[in-house]
Symmetry: C2
Subunit: 176 residues, 2 copies
């Protein structure tokens, strides 16, 4: 197997393979039951008129029986956010490399590309989240210069799902 | 003092007053030293060609000596993000009400407007962060239907400042 790969912007046609990797990541994160997204929705939101996110992929090119074979072995999905303390920022939602291709610097190469894009966009912050039991990722992030803001300042990560949003509106828009 | 207020979209002209409130919020969060943003940059990023965020404000209108007096007493700043597990989502970066105007439902009224906007935009998630010592806010969020994902799944909040991004690039783009 060749170890050559390129990092490139993703296209609409990558969505099936990206979705497959998203499911692999969810499995690794022990959160498989949470994946509701599908390739069509990802296509609409990543490549439609209104873009909610950006995605780079790592692609390997190997000689196959019927010519060159291309395979996606990693992806990084990110978007721009805003810090009212600092200004423009970039959020890395996922960075993933398939197991067989780990340890070759592909994750770092994708992180590097996003960092370059963010700096070029005048972003002064990168933000991301990691699960507390994923100590190998935490170690790498700290080595790269990442700071654990949950530890440092006590930030907790909150969310409300669609049903809670609807329940909230039903409850509070009837009370004036 | 009248207790009437409206929630409306912010305009360029609000940026000075929003910046003042951002500084008040930072003081409350004991993070004043972190505020590097100014009104000009906020104007560019919130109202320029490329929008990094959206902002609603709470405005009071009182009878004054020289006619009606308008005053901003709160703001909520948000943007769209993306969950690879769930799809379109909305992130509430800040929600703030000036001390004299708390306890009148203004925070909840702004949260309600953002929730409506997010639902209309087909968002299936609201996300936000809160400091662990801010128990009064945490209690309110839980009452509204928010889930503490740091507690539930162990998500930690990470970031890298501009200098760390530059250091990272200097370190890893020289290693091939």
């Amino acid at each position: 197997m060749t170890e050559k790969y390129i990092i490139r912007e993703s296209t609409k046609d990558d969505c099936d393979q990206i979705m497959k990797m998203i499911r692999e990541l969810a499995e690794y994160e022990r959160l498989s039951d949470q994946v509701k997204l599908n390739a069509e929705t990802l296509q609409r939101d990543c490549f439609g008129e209104e873009k909610f996110c950006h995605c780079l992929v790592a692609e390997t090119i190997s000689p196959g029986e019927c010519g060159e074979e291309k395979l996606l072995v990693g992806y990084v999905l990110f978007y721009y956010i805003y810090s009212t303390f600092k200004g423009r920022a970039c959020y890395i939602e996922d960075v993933y490399v398939t197991p067989a291709w780990r340890g070759k610097g592909i994750g770092r190469a994708m992180w590097t590309e996003v960092t370059k894009i963010a700096v070029a966009k005048d972003c002064v912050l990168l933000r991301w989240a990691v699960l507390d039991w994923n100590t190998s990722a935490i170690d790498v992030y700290k080595q790269w210069g990442g700071q654990n803001m949950s530890e440092k300042e006590g930030w907790l990560f909150f969310l409300m799902h669609k049903q809670s949003m609807v329940d909230y509106l039903a409850k509070y828009t009837s009370i004036k």
